[in-house]
Symmetry: D2
Subunit: 338 residues, 4 copies
């Protein structure tokens, strides 16, 4: 940590800063530049002290040198985290594909789709039983019954299942039925939810908040890791920008950046990341080429009649098949195995 003082701060203010640092049991190294004084602070990181320093008279800025997250950092855990569940590995050099509808609508629907997901060679069945919707009058999901259908479909077709959990009180019931719990973009900083997810032993897929920085995202993962749940994967699903042609701007650079900063698996969601069916295939291929550990793709056997309106970004089953074939060809070129 470094504190920067204005050139005109004067000796008294500088000494107050040095004193405050030493009072915390830390060391201060003073460097005097031509128009700024820099004080290096050596010792254990403490965010509240950084903030206190920033407020001291004469201090222009405090620059953090170390990272705010630890357990999520590759410095702390140099090798890739590989999550294993019912024989399926997520992370490392395994490329995983999750497919399915935005929302579970009926038992028949999810069974039909599960059959097509399995047939195409994917590993995980996605489907929301509880749906976060912008307005209160839109379809909000079928609830717990949907979890039961998902579980049955997963078992029948040998697929893992992933479903979204929106509030702490539903974590346990969702964990009972699903193999992976998804945190949606609007809940990335729902800290009570994250804390609760730290207490279970079900893997968590943490979607990036649609305006979150990489650092905030890794800090959100840190909440779960710090609670004792080590099986966290991160999912890039597009950020909000000024461009309105696409639903979001899929930030694929997040993939190589996160592979560098963290040991956790990185998944891409080209469906929400673009919001347009015709862009899903090229962006899926781009995500694989950029080094993603996995993909989560919306597929629906009858997207034109989906209940959430996300049908517009869902692939038809045949498109999903074709895309899986392309991904299989592409994966080995970037050192991944499907």
């Amino acid at each position: 940590m470094i504190a920067i003082l204005a050139h005109h701060a004067g000796e008294e203010k500088l000494q107050a800063v040095v004193h405050a640092i030493e009072k915390r049991g830390l060391q201060a190294h003073v460097s005097r530049g031509m128009d700024r004084i820099v004080v290096g602070i050596i010792g254990k990181f403490d965010p509240s002290f950084s903030e206190q320093l920033r407020q001291m008279s004469g201090v222009e800025n405090v620059v953090r040198i170390s990272k705010t997250y630890k357990l999520a950092s590759r410095d702390f855990h140099p090798s890739d985290t590989v999550i294993e569940r019912k024989g399926v590995r997520i992370g490392g050099d395994a490329l995983i594909v999750m497919g399915g509808p935005c929302a579970v609508e009926s038992k028949e629907q999810i069974m039909d789709i599960a059959a097509r997901v399995q047939q195409a060679g994917a590993h995980v069945l996605r489907g929301g039983a509880f749906k976060p919707r912008t307005g209160p009058y839109a379809f909000q999901g079928v609830g717990v019954e949907g979890l039961e259908w998902m579980k049955e479909a997963g078992e029948r077709y040998g697929l893992l299942t992933i479903t979204e959990v929106m509030t702490p009180e539903y974590v346990e019931v969702c964990a009972e039925y699903a193999d992976i719990l998804q945190v949606g973009t609007r809940n990335m900083q729902n800290f009570d939810l994250l804390r609760k997810l730290g207490t279970v032993r079900t893997p968590v897929l943490l979607k990036r908040g649609f305006s979150a920085t990489y650092e905030e995202w890794l800090n959100a993962a840190e909440y779960i890791l710090a609670g004792g749940n080590a099986d966290v994967m991160l999912c890039e699903r597009g950020i909000r920008t000024f461009e309105t042609y696409t639903r979001n701007t899929l930030d694929l650079a997040a993939i190589p950046v996160l592979r560098q900063l963290t040991h956790l698996p990185v998944i891409a969601d080209p469906s929400h990341g673009t919001g347009r069916r015709e862009l899903v295939a090229p962006m899926t291929k781009a995500a694989v080429a950029a080094g993603a550990h996995g993909l989560i793709i919306e597929m629906h056997t009858d997207p034109d009649n989906s209940m959430t309106g996300d049908g517009v970004q869902s692939l038809y089953p045949d498109q999903f098949d074709a895309l899986m074939r392309d991904v299989k060809q592409l994966a080995p070129l970037v050192g991944m195995t499907l």
Copy 2:
């Protein structure tokens, strides 16, 4: 609602669209342009149908003509909502000021600050007992004990109190102690929390999500209103942009825009909106001039030792006094009474 078809869509696709509309008991009006066909849809609004249409073959776009929120709309409720609590009115031509620390730290701290808030002529004491923090290792608030201190301070100094609630299970206990419940920026789309807030009769201050559009924000308010709680106020607290000098970009145009679109009171938060103490006074005055119904301002008797680091954006008590005097002069020029 309008559906737009490409010029080359052809009669068959057009008829399929018309048929789908009529099957829902709605009317279709077809207009043929030089290179697009426009189908007007007449009847009751239904978001899922709009989404279904968008997915039909040949349809290029579906444009919503009506708004997605109803109870929050000024069309529905033309006169200003005025919230009344213990004789204090929020909304209409009353200008209200809320002041206090980011976080409740101790009983003594909140008592001292409450005294200064009252002395300055403000109406509401703010203070967080539960704090949403980016990382798990930062100070997370003092919890329920802080709510008790707040209540006692409010009663002693004749102030209303406002505090943040982060999760559905704490809504009831917070409503027991505080006069106004605050939903923070990260929870604007925590729909389970919003639904729960619809069931209590305590007024709610709903902060704008830091990347939310006006429409999403009004839809979030709609969740609370639709649950039966009519006392919602909206708080602009800055949005995230590419500019990093300020903590957020305070979007003051939100004030006149919302006064037009909705009947709910509009509050401004220049403290989080800028993140810098020296910008709080000019932006407070700007918010009043733009027509805000209220202000929520961080003030601390010892900001240099605040526990959250938000001290850097907190006014000293004397600055708060001076600002209140300026606001009092300004208010009548825009038709407001402090």
Copy 3:
């Protein structure tokens, strides 16, 4: 300037950095933290060297401590710049108002509008003779003839005139006719244009690029100042964000921020900053309350038939009159004189 090395960089890489610093005639101060090494660099600022350092092996980051602009900085020129032209003062405690149409359309139009601008008590007539338009098929302005009409209108009604210049080769002819030259948002980093404007002695109003940071904006001003033209004013006209209800997001915090960072006058443009007529009055008042030195407002005697489509954000003359009266009342409360 500070260079930060990873803890595992090793002595050899550190010595290479120190050596590079000393080779440039600068001094290096090394501070060793627990997981980072910080090297302070003391001596004259040199941006290309900062960039070279950043590229050296082992260097994680280089943090600039000093500012990149000098002549525009308040450190360099502590008192407010006051620009004077034909007896009108811009800057300091004088509040100036510029009004007029987006585009000059005809001699009669500009004469009529000038009469109303003067009648309302404003000081400067605005009007574009050359118009930057998104597409090539839109109205591109009337050209040099418009400059002549502007000049005549300014002289007849005792108003200064301001007009936009889009390309270096037109700087001289525009400077011949107009009292102030405007650089539009799309040209804020048209460096050849800025360099050319440094060579004339006509004041320049430099609009903020719609996605420019404060620092980039001040650097753009620095180009003009470095060329020898000291009469630069900065105009906040809204930035691009994800919100589409307003044309732009008017960043009023820019006003107090710039008044702190620079000595140059700061002007606000609530017309382009919102793109909606009904928002111009509240945002004008907010800009004054935030401390603007001036306002540039679109007014048109027949906005419903304006040729550029910006009529939708133009005030009617009576609205402009009423707003001027409000501004006159507001100005003294923030220490300004209209």
Copy 4:
């Protein structure tokens, strides 16, 4: 084009709108919905009329149905544009690679780099002789002499050359020396420059403005096409977002979107798009997988001593070689030939 009126607009205002439409020789189709009236306008597109309508009393919104650009649209020109220059084809199924330094620094430097570009199997040598720089004190390029060195290097190694042109008056001299003229991100809406580029017969690579929408970008291309120069290619180079870890956010969805909307070749710039050397290879591969027609990549034989500071995003020659090999493997999987 569609005009939308509020339900309470009334018959008189509706008739005024219909009348205005018919006065322009266009047809009006009226559809009355439950709370809005929609007027379809049929006939030739006219942007200024759309704007006039939007300003009429009672009109809530005007929605454009047709596109604002014509020559750039795939509707107008369904097959891919293929630009040919000295036997090199750009567009269609040919994948092209441009490599070289950010800035031309010396004759020796550009010769060395050209040798490595050719050796790696790339087609075009990039290098800036005129450099747009944020501040006036940074290195501004070597000027015309650099163009001569580029030309000589291109001829010696059988490479096309591309260089940036910043101002209309340099278009002719740049066109004399270089095979392709580049318009930088800050000049995407420098309309005088675009118009001038429409008058030459040298291909133009038009970089996306760092906050430009797809539509604005295509309109900028339209300026060049409308001037008579049909050889335009579009280059995605990253947009500005709130994320600061990367220099820009490379919006790879632009590639499939533009391939759909326009017939012009689409190039990706992973160097400026990320600003970090270690991200260039994964993002290059992602761009190829997304369907790019070409790549423009910074490569430098001595990036640690580059004069612009962009060395930090430049590949070393061996990295460039390795990346070319990867691209060669990847291209056929997406139907492209290197």
